[in-house]
């Protein structure tokens, strides 16, 4: 078995990807771990360690080719393939995701939204049709769905998550304020708990005030 790569490393990869993309836009051809470390405010050592989890992408005496490294990290993150997404919950947040056109650039395609409100039936949100929840099963049987984004009230989330897993969906992007109890061997879950994030901010606000 391969050595497991820690989530701490994985969390940093998208940030590398973003900075490399910016460098590409600026026409930078190569960069050393040292220069990148100054830019990103991390240690050069960490950059080299992180990258070497996946292979040797650099060259001694030269540094890293920006385009090459960008592409490689893209592959590592699975951005070289298309991912279809359905959004469960067509409220404000669901619509925000549906409208967030940038996702498509990287091969993310939102193919449908689902909600329980009858008045939303048949509506479209930037070309994306809104279906009723009772159409979910049929839809999943007829379409290949890679990711389900849960943007619905927390009380319904666990039940829907179960249903989705039974319908063969193995990846959940969970915005509901609850922990989903799914089989980790079968399903990957990524949580976005906005209120947790906000509380972390207020903790730091209070701390800062106490210091000054």
């Amino acid at each position: 078995m391969e050595k497991e790569i820690s989530q701490a490393v994985i969390r940093r990869m998208p940030r590398y990807y973003r900075y490399l993309g910016d460098l590409l836009d600026q026409g930078v051809e190569r960069i050393s771990s040292n220069d990148l470390s100054e830019l990103m405010k991390v240690t050069a050592s960490q950059i080299r360690q992180d990258l070497n989890n996946f292979g040797g992408f650099g060259q001694q005496g030269y540094g890293y080719n920006v385009q090459f490294l960008y592409d490689e990290i893209g592959k590592i993150l699975g951005l070289n393939q298309q991912h279809t997404i359905i959004v469960i919950g067509a409220g404000n947040l669901g619509q925000a995701l549906a409208n967030y056109a940038k996702f498509e650039k990287r091969g993310f395609v939102i193919i449908a939204m689902f909600d329980v409100k009858p008045e939303l039936k048949g509506k479209k949100c930037r070309d994306i049709p809104v279906y009723m929840m009772d159409e979910l099963e049929d839809f999943c049987k007829n379409h290949s769905v890679d990711i389900a984004a849960l943007t619905l009230p927390k009380d319904f989330a666990p039940e829907i998550a179960d249903k989705l897993v039974k319908l063969g969906i193995h990846a959940i992007w969970n915005f509901a304020h609850v922990d989903l109890d799914v089989d980790e061997k079968e399903v990957v879950v990524e949580n976005v708990h906005l209120s947790d994030s906000l509380m972390q901010l207020t903790y730091n606000i209070v701390k800062k005030k106490a210091q000054s």
Copy 2:
């Protein structure tokens, strides 16, 4: 100087808070670190260590009083005070935040939104008025603003962040896909990078597929 509490600990506090809130709703009066650890799937040791960073909230032989612990963690996270928020960028995500009524339960109040689009001028989003960006300065001078949520395109974010800091705002909840280069001594920043989160998910999808 007090010993610094690591952000790793802080990140876990909102989750404790959430579970304790659920227990309260269920009418549970006391809980041991052991029982809580099973519920939350973390070690009892970690719970006790985390809490003891802030003081001894439990009692030997008894455990923790749920209500008391809930309130204490609320205070630690600054939830016992009100925080006013302005949202910069009245797009979908900004509106989603504005409509996310639950925030108000915990003392978060969104008092205004700002945008550049003239057609939004004077509109309201669930009682929250939308102002034009050129009204920002006046607004900040006449209102006490604790937090600015940035839900605008990344190209404008750094500039606006600078402006906000100059106007006396010391906390930024940043949804723009860029790192803000502000003085850390003066300003606290909490980033919510949705596409980073999505990439973490796709990494794990690809990994899982490779395993099976």
